[in-house]
C-alpha cells in the first residue's frame, strides 16, 4: 500500500528534477518553469502531510490553506517574473542567462 514515504519520495524526486533544471539549463524560461516545478513539489509534501496528520479524524486543513496561498503567490510571481523576462528580452534579444553579465565584476 501507499504510505507517506511514497509521496515524500515522489515530491523529493520532482524537487530534484527542478533543481537540476535550474542549475543545468541556460534558457531563462526553462529555469523559470523548473522553479514552478520545485514549488509544486513542496505543495505535494504539504498536502501529503495534511492527509496523514489527521486532526479530529479529518485532514489538517491548515496545511491545505497554506498550499492555497502558495499557489496564489506563485501565480502572482509568474506574472511579475514573466514581465521581467519580457523586459529583459526586449533589451537583450536573448533568453540565454549566460548573456546577462552586466552585474558581473
Amino acid at each position: 500500500m501507499v504510505t507517506l514515504g511514497h509521496y515524500l519520495v515522489v515530491s523529493g524526486a520532482l524537487f530534484a528534477l527542478g533543481l537540476a533544471g535550474v542549475i543545468a539549463r541556460r534558457n531563462i524560461l526553462i529555469i523559470y518553469m523548473c522553479l514552478e516545478m520545485m514549488l509544486s513539489a513542496a505543495n505535494l509534501t504539504l498536502v501529503a502531510f495534511s492527509r496523514f496528520h489527521l486532526v479530529d479524524h479529518l485532514p489538517d486543513y491548515g496545511a491545505q490553506a497554506l498550499v492555497f496561498f502558495t499557489i496564489t503567490v506563485a501565480a502572482a510571481e509568474v506574472a511579475v517574473g514573466l514581465a521581467i523576462i519580457v523586459a529583459l528580452f526586449r533589451s537583450r534579444q536573448s533568453v540565454d542567462v549566460d548573456s546577462i553579465t552586466k552585474l558581473q565584476g
Partner: protein, 193 residues
C-alpha cells in the same frame, strides 16, 4: 486507493518533469510541465484534497502555463539546437539532484512503517473538528462523504480570513507591477526627442 494508480500518476508527474528539463524546444517544455501538473493534481486528489487538485489544474495547468506559452510564442524563441551545453553545470546539476533524491529516500525511510492512506472515519469527526458544527458540513460527513471544499472554505474564511485579504492585495500589487513593467517607456522617449 489501489496503489497502481499512485504509481501511474507518479510516473506521469516525474516522466513529464524529466521532459521539461531535457527538452530542447521551450514549447515542448511548457506542454510537458502542464502534463506534469495534471499528474500532480491527480496525486493531490488521491490524497483526498479535491479542492487543491482542481485549483492546481485551473491555476497552474490552465492560467500559468497559458501565460508561459504566450510569452514563448511572443518572443519567437528558436529551439536551442547545436548549442554547446555547459558541461560543468550539467554534471553539477545532475549530481546535486541525485544526492538530494538519495537523501530524501533515506529520510523518508523513517516513514515507511507508518499507516497507509486509509478511509476517513467521517462520522467520528462530527462536532469535534473545526467547522463540523455547521449543518451542511455535518450532513455530508454523516453520509460518509468528505466535504473537502466546504471544509477548505471554512478554514480559509474563518481561520485565515485576514491572510486571504492580504493575498488579494498581493494579487492587486502584482497586477499593477506587471502593467508598470511591460509598459514601454514612452515618456523617456519623448523627453529624448
Amino acid at each position: 486507493m489501489p496503489s497502481f494508480i499512485f504509481y501511474l500518476f507518479a510516473l506521469v508527474t516525474l516522466g513529464f518533469g524529466l521532459l521539461v528539463v531535457t527538452a530542447r524546444n521551450p514549447v515542448t517544455s511548457a506542454l510537458s510541465l502542464a502534463s506534469s501538473f495534471v499528474g500532480l493534481a491527480a496525486l493531490f486528489i488521491s490524497l483526498d484534497a479535491y479542492f487543491i487538485g482542481i485549483i492546481q489544474i485551473l491555476v497552474y495547468a490552465g492560467a500559468v502555463m497559458v501565460l508561459f506559452l504566450f510569452i514563448i510564442m511572443l518572443m519567437d524563441i528558436k529551439a536551442e539546437e547545436g548549442k554547446k551545453t555547459n558541461n560543468g553545470a550539467l554534471v553539477g546539476g545532475c549530481l546535486l539532484a541525485v544526492l538530494l533524491v538519495l537523501q530524501v529516500i533515506m529520510v523518508s525511510g523513517a516513514f515507511h512503517g507508518e499507516r497507509t492512506v486509509a478511509e476517513l472515519d467521517t462520522t467520528a469527526a462530527i462536532g469535534k473538528a473545526a467547522g463540523t458544527e455547521l449543518p451542511t458540513i455535518a450532513n455530508d460527513l454523516r453520509e460518509g462523504s468528505l466535504p473537502d471544499t466546504k471544509l477548505m472554505g471554512y478554514a480559509l474564511f474563518d481561520r485565515y480570513g485576514f491572510h486571504l485579504q492580504v493575498v488579494g492585495l498581493l494579487l492587486l500589487v502584482g497586477t499593477v507591477g506587471v502593467v508598470m513593467l511591460s509598459k514601454r517607456d514612452t515618456a523617456a522617449k519623448e523627453a529624448g526627442n
